[in-house]
Amino acid sequence: MIVFAIATVSSRKVLRAVMYLLFVLIGISGIYFLIDYSFLGAIQIVVYGGGVVVLFIFSVLLIHHVELELEVTPLKKKISAGILSAVGLGITLWAILTYPFKTANSYQSIEVEEIGRKLLSYEDGGYILPFEVISILLLAVMIGAIVIAKGKKLGLKEGEIENRE
């Protein structure tokens, strides 16, 4: 996965970079499956694999040609990006290593039904508020996309394709 992540940013062909990114995302979903979070794993595949990456590929398909290559990034930028990501890795590792993890005694895999009930419950620990907020945000995004895509003439289809995000 790390190899593919590095390949994503260093590849000079756009679509190859997208494919490497896809491998990274599928790898992450594989980790979810390994720790028995199969719902989250499937969500990861649907949203990132089926949604985001397909949209990326579409935009690449529309604007790029096979033989086109990106320009080489100057060394200075490479070094600064490297330092930044090293710092980020350091902070994350520090946070993980110093956190006192406890081993869970009773463990059972989570059912989809439970997730659904939690999402819509308005009692303590329910997630109805974030759920509604996200729905409104998505609605706003959809309307925005439709307005932008519509432009002068009626072209509803582009906006509607966004819906499935």
Partner: protein, 348 residues
């Protein structure tokens, strides 16, 4: 049978090696099923086509031509893998495997009978949708990497079509999941043991959902009348114009396997999976339940072939109109209808 093999393996081998051997055995069994199903569906398609057009169809290789597709496969294996100089090599070679691996992954979760299921995951249906949503990437990438305008147009159309119709497939499955209350495939089938098949239990909304599912499923597999992706008269062969030999065969096989998958989903969701009609073989313990599963799948596949040789191809704008202006609204209303049916307990 699977249980006895399992016990036997664990008795002669240490635990670690035994489980790995078991995994390998299952994988090999699935690959064999994959190959056989693919090959014989091709033959079936040709036979059905011939029957619909009052021809004989393949009849030279073996009795009634049953070895015809075997011979074709041998030919494809031995063929040279050509490619043009100016393709993006890495992506060009990756694309067919992408398509076939996703098809194979989707196949693992089907319960062919009560004992015969490789991967009984509790989000079964959702997992299926997730896997099928990344299958299209192989087509898109293959079309783009071929560096050919027909392939590119084919790939674009494929993306457009799959993204649109995925929505209908997902929503019609969701309608049925409302009724079952479970995403796990084995559980969905268990529900149908008492109270009849889901298409009977859910009556009107279930029948509407089934029709939408069949239309959208046919479109999902890029088959006629939705085969704009590889419309021979306009695009050569669409996204796989530049492929030859085994790489072409992968695309070809994946198409037939996807048809098998769509039919299997329909059988599990609407027609009771491996349950026998009216429970006629319920008491007979030796009767292989796999038989019913495959009979039903073959009937649905025959229906899809019937579509193919009956309807003419749609235009792109007609395709999109059908999805966005008819199927999607009907589907949304249907979900609400199904919810009302369940709420008022009108289930048969």
């Amino acid at each position: 049978m699977t249980k006895s093999i399992h016990d036997w393996l664990f008795s002669i081998l240490p635990e670690g090696i035994a489980s790995i051997t078991e995994m390998v055995l299952i994988a090999v069994a699935y690959l064999a099923l994959f190959a056989i199903a693919g090959l014989y569906l091709v033959l079936l398609e040709r036979k059905v086509a011939a029957w619909f057009q009052l021809r004989l169809g393949p009849n030279r290789v073996g009795p009634f031509g049953i070895f015809q597709t075997m011979a074709d496969a041998l030919k494809l294996v031995s063929k040279e893998l050509t490619s043009t100089d100016r393709v993006d090599k890495f992506l060009y070679n990756l694309a067919p495997y992408f398509v076939i691996v996703t098809a194979l992954l989707a196949m693992t979760i089907f319960p062919f009978s009560k004992q015969l299921q490789a991967f009984d995951i509790n989000i079964g249906m959702f997992f299926l949708l997730a896997i099928s949503s990344i299958g299209v990437i192989g087509i898109l990438v293959g079309g783009w990497a071929s560096n050919n305008k027909y392939a590119l147009i084919g790939a674009m159309r494929s993306g457009l079509q799959t993204i649109s119709y995925e929505l209908s497939v997902g929503l019609s499955i969701l309608t049925m999941v409302l009724l079952t209350g479970s995403l796990q495939l084995s559980e969905i089938i268990e529900i149908q043991r008492t109270g009849g098949w889901l298409i009977w239990q859910g009556h009107i909304p279930a029948i509407i959902a089934f029709m939408i599912f069949m239309i959208a499923g046919t479109a999902e597999t890029n088959r006629a009348p939705f085969d704009l992706v590889e419309a021979e008269s306009e695009l050569g062969a669409g996204f796989h114009t530049e492929y030859s030999g085994m790489k072409f065969a992968y695309f070809f096989l994946a198409e037939f396997i996807n048809m098998f998958i769509i039919a299997s989903i329909a059988v599990v969701l609407f027609f009771g999976g491996w349950l026998s009609p009216f429970g006629i073989t319920e008491g007979i313990t030796w009767f292989p339940e796999v038989f019913w599963f495959f009979i039903k799948v073959l009937l649905i596949i025959f229906l899809m072939m019937w579509f193919r040789w009956t309807f003419p191809r749609l235009r792109v704008d007609q395709l999109l109109t059908l999805e966005w202006k008819y199927l999607l609204p009907i589907n949304l209303v249907n979900i609400v209808f199904m919810a009302i049916v369940i709420w008022l307990n009108w289930i048969l």
